[in-house]
Point group: C2
Chain length 294, copies 2
């Protein structure tokens, strides 16, 4: 089969064997925002046209490709949801003589009735259900919009999104704080300082200004300022999102995982890292819900 992880800024295609093992993979910058005029079929053929022509099937996708800005909108399935609920909500697309299916995202409401949504992460989680095993688990998928997911007995019960990565990027690029930041160097000491600062009950909006004030007094240089801001934001995320959990499963790249592991360690939270390639196992498990002739 062909498994596709199609997000906002990147497209990853995988050729899987009957058991879900990865035979071949490719990735490109053809995220849905880079595809013009709705030419998704062409973009897909550019990435995996040879596999499709050779009859590799079925074709199953997840991620923002199923959003309103994607190929077709695959409406959110409601939590709690496991492989069955997601598998039954797959949405078909056709072009030329080809067919493919898109996984829906998930939605939930929190205790205050406020909605939350995810698209793509739910399939990554399906891919680690076996490793997680029975019982209840906290899974964090850090990133632009970090997802904190509660999994229980193989189903996604609820989740909450934290805008950590985007707030970091936007403040660095467009706020007064960015003027004292340059380069990509990481300062572990400043990152740890930021995490420690997030414990003070004076609020994130105040802590943010401290980046500037400490810079003015020469306590943070250009590299340290960015690391301190990162620690502040990740610290705030972890403290509120972990909700007292002493063990959190991370599902992300090794680099981001190392950052969250160190932040967790500073807060007394143990972490375990899963590989985000889990999305292929998730898509493989969803293939069981396709029509016989897919």
């Amino acid at each position: 089969m062909i498994a596709i992880d199609w997000g906002t800024s990147s497209l990853r295609v995988y050729r899987l064997d009957r058991d879900g093992a990865i035979l071949e993979s490719r990735s490109s910058a053809s995220g849905i925002l880079a595809v013009e005029g709705g030419a998704f079929a062409q973009a897909l053929e550019q990435a995996a046209g040879d596999w499709i022509a050779s009859g590799e099937a079925p074709i199953l996708m997840s991620g923002m490709i199923g959003s309103r800005q994607g190929w077709v909108e695959a409406p959110y399935a409601a939590c709690p949801a496991g492989v069955e609920e997601i598998g039954k909500a797959l949405r078909e697309v056709r072009w030329k003589n080809h067919r493919a299916w898109i996984a829906p995202g998930l939605s939930c409401r929190d205790a205050s009735g406020v909605h939350d949504v995810m698209r793509g992460e739910e399939v990554q989680i399906l891919g680690v259900l076996d490793e997680l095993g029975a019982g209840s688990h906290r899974v964090c998928l850090p990133g632009t919009h970090s997802k904190w997911v509660t999994v229980s007995e193989g189903r996604i019960v609820s989740f909450a999104t934290y805008m950590t990565g985007e707030v970091y990027a936007v403040l660095k690029a467009h706020s007064i704080l960015g003027r004292q930041m340059s380069g990509e160097a990481h300062s572990e000491a400043a990152f740890a300082d930021g995490i420690a600062r997030s414990a003070d009950g004076t609020g994130l909006l105040h802590h943010l200004f401290g980046v500037r004030a400490r810079g003015l007094f020469g306590e943070l240089d250009d590299a340290e300022s960015a690391s301190y801001l990162s620690g502040l934001l990740i610290g705030h995320e972890l403290r509120t999102a972990a909700g007292g959990a002493r063990f959190v499963n991370l599902l992300c790249t090794a680099q981001l995982g190392a950052l969250y592991a160190r932040a967790g360690s500073a807060l007394g939270i143990q972490t375990r890292l899963f590989n985000p390639d889990a999305v292929t196992r998730g898509l493989h498990s969803l293939a069981a819900y396709l029509p016989e002739d897919a």
Copy 2:
């Protein structure tokens, strides 16, 4: 005398009589960021050259004009500070045969030792000390960088800055949240919703994503999204910054004051509004510390 409030984005000049009453005032967009090549003397003469030529004196300024990016840097005075400490730290500038003085900003450190700074707001506060009277007072100067100031027996004891206004502007202009916002219309119901949401203990970074999720589900339209975000941020600021105070003095424009008064009211905090023209009274009170021949 000539009293000058010279900030990042605007320049306000006032001609005052011997008792500090405003005889005439002018304002322009010649904030320090708009002045090129350090031509501050020219910018000042453009705004008040006729007053200066006619011998109006002394000339006293406050605001970002005393920052590293301004005319000359007037180093921060340390809290606690009243009119005497600020008056003794005035910094002189000369050009042609003219002299003028710039008020220093203030700095302080919080319980965790983290610095905070203000420039300009401290002189506005000097201008309302008489009205505030004896005892302890909480004064909030809302804005791009909201200042929360504790005044006791006529001196500024400590303060904390909240990046509320800048975070709002940056998220609206540059984040995914801004895509669902347009126009300047205000929705009072959405603003109130945002304030209510800020009470949930799930953290600002999560509440921010709720703007998007609620938009996706049609619960917030373009005008409502901006007002909801505004309520969220002001709600977070007020809850943490007020620190249990049931009465807060506001020092800002009537429009911003009305917004903070409504937010305060929703949180059981009474407010009283002072006019930011108080800066002229503050500068007038500082004139007592100038040399005799100023």
